[in-house]
């Protein structure tokens, strides 16, 4: 159990800056997810915590100790890799026991700890199998087991579920959640899948171009994204963005474009904003089709996808590609124009220059 502190961490590969001045505190016992598109520096950050990558600048602390120059084996961490990284010539027992043996743990204790971890992950009947005899899900359990037996201060996961098929991924996700509830070990988890990030994380750090865009609890990143990138990355399908003119009318902020006119309530109009902005609307905050009205958004429908629990309608509003998530029982015709209402309390407004959130 330990807190992990990153202070002004930078990693450069030649001229390329993979991680740029990242600072964050990962609280003791918390499950923290680093999420972002590929190449955003999340895996590099994790590997620096693990000690598999040198730190160009800054300091990493695990507990009270600065670990910059401490080799991976002495950092008291355990890591689970994307492609499992099991030793192919060893059986499951030895895969899990390898680290303990190298640490000269007494035989009896190794036996007990491996057995205990195997039971926790329901692979106790596979201890004599070689990795190649196991399914993908079982292999990943062994990899997790190998991390558990070490009883480390920090768990590091590097996209552990991305090699599994969709159904198994959901199942393993729940198992990891339960496991964390039981063990309460500080965990850093890297993924590019925002659903995994939302479901698993106590805190999530959204990264882009080596910089943390927002570090907050999952719901906060969804409700109050700090900038347009986070707004578009978190949530599925992603947020719609519409360029708009902004003006004050009475006490209200009015956002308008070709085919829409959004009047924000006075409670949300207190902020000074430039005359050109980007309006962000989540697909699930759109509703319709409805009667024509001055507050409605006019959408040209091109594609629809019936998902059962919702109806996704793709098309354009004022020339911008948008998607709306509607009640699945609504009737929508292709290649027609429909009017949609918007939830005024959740509309976001971004600065087109800095891309930061204004409202």
């Amino acid at each position: 159990m330990a807190e992990v502190t990153l202070t002004d961490i930078t990693k450069r590969f030649g001229d390329f800056t993979a991680v740029d001045d990242v600072s964050m505190v990962i609280e003791d016992g918390k499950f923290t997810v680093l999420v972002g598109p590929s190449g955003c520096g999340k895996t590099t950050t994790l590997r620096m915590v693990a000690g598999l990558e040198d730190i160009t600048e800054g300091a990493i602390q695990i507990g009270e100790r600065v670990v910059n120059n401490i080799p991976p084996k002495d950092r008291d961490i355990a890591m689970v890799f994307q492609n499992y990284a099991l030793y192919p010539h060893m059986d499951v027992f030895n895969n899990m026991a390898f680290g303990l043996k190298l640490r000269k743990t007494p035989k009896k204790e190794i036996q007990e700890r491996v057995q205990e971890a195997a039971e926790l992950l329901s692979i106790e009947d596979k201890l004599k199998s070689k990795p190649r005899e196991l399914s993908g899900g079982q292999r990943q359990r062994v990899a997790v087991g190998r991390a558990i037996v070490r009883n480390p201060k920090v768990f590091l996961f590097d996209e552990p579920l991305s090699n599994l098929d969709a159904k198994l991924r959901v199942q393993m996700r729940t198992e990891l959640e339960e496991l964390h509830k039981k063990l309460q070990t500080t965990t850093i988890y890297v993924t590019h899948d925002q659903v995994e990030a939302m479901t698993l994380g106590d805190q999530i750090a959204v990264m882009k171009d080596g910089v943390i865009q927002q570090y907050a609890p999952p719901q906060t990143t969804y409700d109050h994204p700090t900038n347009q990138f986070v707004a578009g990355f978190i949530g599925s399908p992603g947020m719609n963005f519409l360029p708009a003119d902004a003006r004050k009318e009475g006490g209200q902020t009015v956002l308008s474009g070709d085919g829409f006119n959004i009047r924000l309530p006075e409670s949300r109009s207190g902020v000074d904003i430039p005359s050109r902005v980007i309006v962000g609307v989540r697909p699930e905050d759109l509703d319709g089709p409805m009667q024509e009205s001055t507050d409605a958004l006019l959408m040209t429908v091109s594609v629809k996808e019936q998902l059962g629990h919702s109806l996704l309608v793709y098309g354009t509003i004022a020339g911008s590609q948008v998607v709306a998530s509607l009640d699945p029982h609504r009737q929508v015709e292709l290649d027609t124009e429909i009017y949609l209402s918007v939830n005024l309390n959740t509309v976001h407004v971004f600065d087109p220059e800095s891309l930061t959130t204004l409202i």
Partner: protein, 284 residues
């Protein structure tokens, strides 16, 4: 569909068959001649045996007893073993270390030194005799077994290092990261993880190297000299050719003695042989 595939493969199969026959017919002739008596060999060709192949009485192992006991081929067989096994083991062993270093350890000049070593493959070994032999003589290593082990190791290293490096470079990087986190030093990673995984490549290199050394005449002749106490099979057989060129029964028996071990090695390890040649070329 099946017929079409069969037809498409006829040229391939014919070629394989022709090559197999080209190799098998002389071998069969050699084997049959080696178990016939000198008078039979002189009076009729080995193929005359074919119609009555399995009728007894016409074969004997006398020729083998002759070459092994009187012509000293038994001693040469042991010499060959004593040259091939250590020389092969040493070169495979050393090459494994080098290959691991070139594949996974970061140091300056890694690429250049690897290219130099692999580039050494194109140096004809005959070119090295004249500069090296005086050094051997000065050090008293000419005519000794350790001397020839060293020579064969040196000649075998470039190819062996290259093949094993190729294989080791294909081991996923995550395994090394994982071992580092588990607490394994590079040396332990090498012994406990890399070597066991590399068994197919090691075995195939071992076979290649073993066959090459077993069949080598030139290196042995140069570095060991012709003394019977150290002469390998190849040398003794070539002497036998000179001394008893007319005695076919002895020559064929001797040839078969020298073929026996490579055949056993090849058939018992052939699955590694094929896998080793493909090592690195196919992603598993």
């Amino acid at each position: 569909m099946r017929l079409k595939r069969f037809l498409a493969r006829i040229p391939l199969h014919t070629t394989i068959l022709v090559f197999a026959l080209m190799w098998l017919i002389p071998t069969l002739g050699l084997l049959l001649t080696s178990v016939r008596s000198p008078s039979n060999i002189a009076s009729s060709g080995w193929w005359t045996v074919l119609p009555k192949l399995f009728s007894g009485g016409q074969y004997s192992l006398e020729n083998y007893v002759g070459v092994i006991q009187q012509q000293g081929l038994g001693k040469s067989f042991l010499n060959s073993l004593f040259i091939s096994v250590p020389a092969t083991a040493i070169s495979t062993f050393v090459a494994s270390f080098a290959a691991f270093g070139f594949a996974w350890m970061k140091f300056t000049g890694r690429r250049v030194s690897f290219m130099l070593i692999v580039g050494a493959m194109i140096v004809p070994l005959q070119m090295t005799f004249i500069p090296i032999l005086p050094i051997y003589n000065k050090l008293g290593m000419a005519g000794t077994f350790p001397g020839i082990w060293l020579a064969h190791t040196a000649y075998g290293l470039p190819m062996a290092t290259y093949l094993i490096q190729n294989f080791m470079a294909g081991i996923p990087k995550d395994l090394f990261d994982s071992a580092a986190i588990d607490g394994a030093s590079p040396l332990r990673t090498f012994w406990r993880i890399v070597m066991p995984i590399s068994v197919p490549a090691l075995a195939s290199v071992f076979i290649f190297q073993f066959l090459w050394i077993w069949n080598d005449l030139l290196v042995a002749l140069i570095y060991l000299g012709g003394r019977p106490s150290v002469a390998p099979l190849t040398l003794s057989i070539s002497n036998l050719m000179t001394n008893m060129g007319e005695d076919w029964e002895l020559l064929t028996a001797a040839a078969f003695v020298s073929m026996a071990l490579p055949l056993i090695v090849f058939f018992s390890l052939q699955r590694y042989f094929v896998r080793g040649i493909l090592a690195g070329s196919v992603k598993g």
